[in-house]
Structures are given as structure tokens and as C-alpha cells.
Amino acid sequence: MTAALVPLVVLLPLLGAASALILGRHRRAQMLVSTAVLAGVVVIASILLATVDAGEPIAVNVGAWPAPFGIVLVVDRLSAIMLLVSAIVLLVVLVYAVGQGVADRHRETPVSIFHPSYLILSAGVFNAFIAGDLFNLYVGFEILLSASYVLLTLGGTGERIRAGVTYIIVSLVSSLFFLSAIALIYGATGTANIAQLSVRIGALPDDVQLMLHLLLLIAFGIKAAVFPLSFWLPDSYPTAPAPVTAVFAGLLTKVGVYAIIRTETVIFSEQDLSLLLMVVGGLTMVIGILGALTQADIKRLLSFTLVSHIGYMIFGIALGTQLGMAATIYYVVHHITVQTTLFLTTGLIERFGGATSINRLAGLLKASPFLAILFFIPALNLGGIPPFSGFLGKTGLFLAGGEQAAADPATAWLVWVVIAAGAVTSLITLYALTRFWNMAFWRGREELDGYESVLLGSVLEAPEGATVTATKTTPRLMVAATTVLVVVTVLLTVFAGPLFGLADRAAENLVDPSVYVSLVFPGGVQ
């Protein structure tokens, strides 16, 4: 019964996009359709998660074609968790965007194409999470990328076109990598079905496996913005409208991380690239956060912290143990919500303070104490201050690291180095965010002129300069949506026990690829 719901997760947003396009001239109807569709997906995803967690993962053969030939949609605990979290985030951000769209109507935010593109983006994200074969995963990626091209260049201003070109070309290259990898994998094994690959790939010579493995990792690494493939992100995300940046930051990189998790745990479960991943993860953390230190613009600063915190997830994947995977899943959930929240709050700051640069914002605490709370909670959370979920996620990862180091003394030093890097990164994140807090919120408005401080000695303005328009009204809907997400991030702490249990059960399935295989092929596979 619930199996019939799985294709709806992709179908609903696509149908919604079509009707939103038809309703282009009726704003209210359009908003109603897209909100209803995403709310529907949230409900379906909750049902799926409940069913799957009760112990019956779902595999659907679309069109009743049997598994290796037809398209398989697979929902296990990891997929269901990702579906639910992304659906919630997409819904909340949509409400925020509606609030913003109602407030300012000018040519830079043509709402009529925003809703269809946004729903298509959602369809792509959901499709990627339930894809059971590599080619369908590729199609999911392409759907979400095409929609993201439109959203990033929304309105076609010079700044956005310039940022969009970088983003689009980098994404195209990564897609070409991915497609070539699929072609070669198909040539080598005769299948693109993930479960079947898991069985067949072990029979290939080691060097062929290594090449295919690296090709996939490069393709997904670009999407997940893993160092050294992360250079494009801080240049392209900040110029988009606030809700778009928030969704991109929260979800798109995580789709890449999800694909890496599947690659490592199911497809190439026998080949071990954990050393490479660990080094890359450590470098991503440190180099990303060093970039964040020099940014005066809060949007660019957050983009760099986004890159940096991808490193934690890569570290968790590299550990490969059940605890490591569980902590990674928890961290992904935490990071999706908290990073989205921060970008939404930044959108509010931009409207309220009329700037995004640390050099031009001041006195916000007095002007709007509520906004200060909305920024302060997720900022502490991202920085990893107890008792927030950022602290819990990092502790989980470090515990898993310590366990792994004890189990494998040969690479223990590397694990400890990366753990140290993670701790330092978390501190620097906290430093960068509290510096912004001190300047923008605590500093009095009257101190702004001629302000000098060692704290601001090394920060650089965004290359485009500030193009923020004057202060506008801040609609209640935007504040409400942000508040909801802040509450969700806090709930991640309150319900950390059950959530970590869920993540642990999801990780249990991941460390043993045969679970995934027997799910798709209940009768065994050759």
C-alpha cells in the first residue's frame, strides 16, 4: 500500500510545477498549489519514514518492469530521513519566499517562474534520494540542476548572470564526469542498477575499480563542494535571492553527500578509499573555514562555512563504521536545517539592516531583539556549542573517530589529526559567527562611523560590492518561516536521543550492503 506512495514523491512536485506554470498569472492560486504540493510530500515522507522504520524498506519497480531492466525506486531508512528533512526545509523556505514575493514586486523577482522552477528542483532532489539505479540518479541530478540554473539566474541581473555562468559550467562538467562514469561502469559490469553493481563490481580488476570509483567521487565531490572541488560555491551561491541561496546551501550539497554515501557503502563497499576521503575531509574543513575568516559579507562567510562543514560529513563517511555513519546521518540532518536557517536569517538581516557587510551593519540588537535571537541560536548551533545539535553531531563523529583509531592503530594518527582539525574548525566557525554577531548586533549604531578594530583588520568585502537596496518592510510570513526552522533546529537537540537511534538503525543497513541488495532483489541476484 505505502509502496504506491513512493512515485508520488516525484510526481506530485512535477504535476504541481506544470499547474503552477499554467497558473502563472494567478499568484494566489500558484502559491496555494506549490504549498499544497510540498505539504503533501511532507505527509507522504512522514508515512514512508514510519513504515520503513517499522522494518519494511520499500522497493518499487516502476511500470512493473523487473529490477535490473526497469527503474527501481528504493526507500530505506536513509532515503526516508533525507526525504522528510528536505521536504520540510523546502516547504518552510517556500513559505518564506511567498512572504518575500508578496512584499516586493519588482522585476528582479519574477514570481511566476519562481514557483514552477522551485517545484521542479524539489522533484529532482526527491528523485535523487529514492533512485535505485545510477542512471536514474543522474536524471534526478539533471532535473535539480536545470531548475537550479533558472533559480540562480532569476531576473537576469548582471551580477547573477556572472555568478550563474560559473555555477552552470562547473555543474555541466560534473554531469559529464558522472555520465562518463555511468557509461564506463555499464561497459564494465553490464548494469547501472545500484544493488546489482554492489554484487558485480567486486569481480573487476582492482585498477579498473579504482578508476570508476574515483570518477564517481569526482562527479559527486563537485556537487558536494568537497575541497579541492569547492572553489565554485562561495562565488555563485551568495548572489541569488535569499530563499534560493538557503535551499541551495541546505540541500544541493547534501544530495552530493548522499550520493557519496551510497557510492561508498553500496557500490564500492569492498574497495577502501577511506584514507583519501579522510585527508580530503580534513582539508575541506580547515581550508573552508580559513576562507570564512576573511569575509566581511555574511552571505559569503556562510558559504565558506558551508564548504567547511561538508568536511565533517566526508570524515564520517571515511570512517565507515556504524557509529561513524550514524553520526554522519545525524550531522547531515543538523546541517541541512541549521545552514538553511542561517541563510534565511541573513535574508531578514539584509532587509532589516539594509546591508550584509560586517562593516556596515550595527545596532541590530536594539533595533530588533527577535531577529537577534533568530540569528544567535543557529549561529551557536553551527559553531557547536552544547547543548545544540551541532555539538551532538560533532561529538558523535569524534567518538566514532576515537573508536576507529583504537581499532586500527596504523591510521590512528591520521584520524586524530582530522579530529583535531574538526575541533579547531568548529572553534573558528564560532569565532567568525560571533564576530559578525558582535559587530552587527552588539555594536551601537552610533559607533559605526570610523570604527576601527583588530577584528576587522583582515576582512575583505565581497568583490561585487554591496548591491543591497534600502530597507524594506519585513513581512510577518518571512519571520514566521524562519522562526519555525529555528524551532526545528532546537528540536533536533530535544529529540536527539530518538533521532540518533533512528540514524543508528539507518547506519546499520548501510554498513552491510547485502541489506540493500536483498531489498531490491528479494530472490537473489547473479
Binding site: 550563474g164 562518463s180 555511468i182
Partner: protein, 178 residues
């Protein structure tokens, strides 16, 4: 697995040419490079289906071992469609960036639009002023009803305002007619 050497050579040339063009600065060349590499990947996928065979339609008297592998063909078709869509978008993007480079954001305004914008602002100002005046007059009228002793002073002010007002009204009406 057997494949055609010609296709392998073709694929290699397309990959090489495509990548080198993609490294150019001009966006149009990047797009051409992307198309070449994209088609090279399509040829690669096709190559992976092995030796060509019969059309992949199973029916009476067709041996399943003699047909071509249909799956890569389906992949190639999908990839072609995706490439087509992205090419269309890239062309629009290139045109837009050329437009911005040539004309800047001002190029977006139709010839008389800038004037219209100016007029609209003026009209909005007038409406705002006259509305404020109307409100002030209304207030004065109400005030005069209640407090007759201050009548004279207020009437004078009201007369001043009213003198400005009709002209404002006329001009906004004219604006609306146009």
C-alpha cells in the same frame, strides 16, 4: 566485448577538441565545447553496448542473444534530450550576458519606459501629497465643527492648502488619462 575502432577514434577526437574549446574564455566556445564533449560521452555510452546486432525488438523467431543491447540506447536518448534543454538555456544565458555587456542594465528599459517611470513617480508623489492635503482638510473641517473659536486661523490654513490642491488633482487626472 567488441566495438568499432572508428567510433573510438571519433570519440577521442571529440573529447579532445571539446575539452580544449571548453577552456577558452568566450562563452559561446564553452558551449560548443560542452556540446562536443556531451556527444563524445554519448558515443562512449553507445560503444558500451558492444557489437551491433538486430533491432532490439523481441518477437517470433528472434534470438535474444542476437539483438543489440537496448539500455545504452535509452541512456543516449535521455542524455541527448537533457543536453538539448541545457543548450537552449545556455544560449539564452549567453545572449543575456552579451546583452548586459553591450547595453548594461539600462538596455532592459524600452525607449520611453524610463520616461514613464519618471512620470509614474511624479504622479505617485502628487497623489500622496493631495491625499495628505485631503486628510488635513478633513481634519480641519472636523476640528472646526467642534471648536468654533479657532475657526479663523484654521480656515486660513485650509484655504492655502486648498489652493494648491486643485492643481494637483488636475495634474494627476491628466496623468491617468494619458
Amino acid at each position: 566485448m567488441t566495438g568499432s575502432l572508428t567510433l573510438v577514434v571519433l570519440m577521442a577526437v571529440m573529447f579532445g577538441a571539446g575539452i580544449s574549446i571548453m577552456l577558452e574564455r568566450s562563452l559561446t566556445r564553452v558551449l560548443i565545447g560542452f556540446l562536443l564533449v556531451g556527444n563524445a560521452v554519448n558515443v562512449l555510452i553507445y560503444l558500451m553496448s558492444g557489437a551491433p546486432g538486430l533491432a532490439p525488438i523481441l518477437g517470433e523467431g528472434v534470438d535474444a542473444d542476437e539483438i543489440s543491447d537496448p539500455l545504452p540506447q535509452a541512456f543516449v536518448l535521455t542524455a541527448i534530450v537533457i543536453n538539448l534543454g541545457i543548450t537552449a538555456f545556455m544560449l539564452a544565458l549567453i545572449y543575456r550576458s552579451w546583452w548586459l555587456a553591450q547595453l548594461g542594465a539600462k538596455g532592459d528599459l524600452v525607449d520611453d519606459e524610463e520616461e514613464d517611470l519618471h512620470d509614474a513617480e511624479e504622479a505617485a508623489d502628487l497623489i500622496r501629497i493631495s491625499a495628505a492635503d485631503d486628510a488635513a482638510i478633513q481634519e480641519l473641517i472636523e476640528a472646526s465643527d467642534e471648536e468654533p473659536e479657532e475657526d479663523l486661523e484654521f480656515e486660513a490654513v485650509a484655504r492655502d492648502r486648498a489652493e494648491q490642491d486643485p492643481t494637483a488633482h488636475d495634474r494627476t487626472d491628466g496623468e491617468a488619462d494619458r
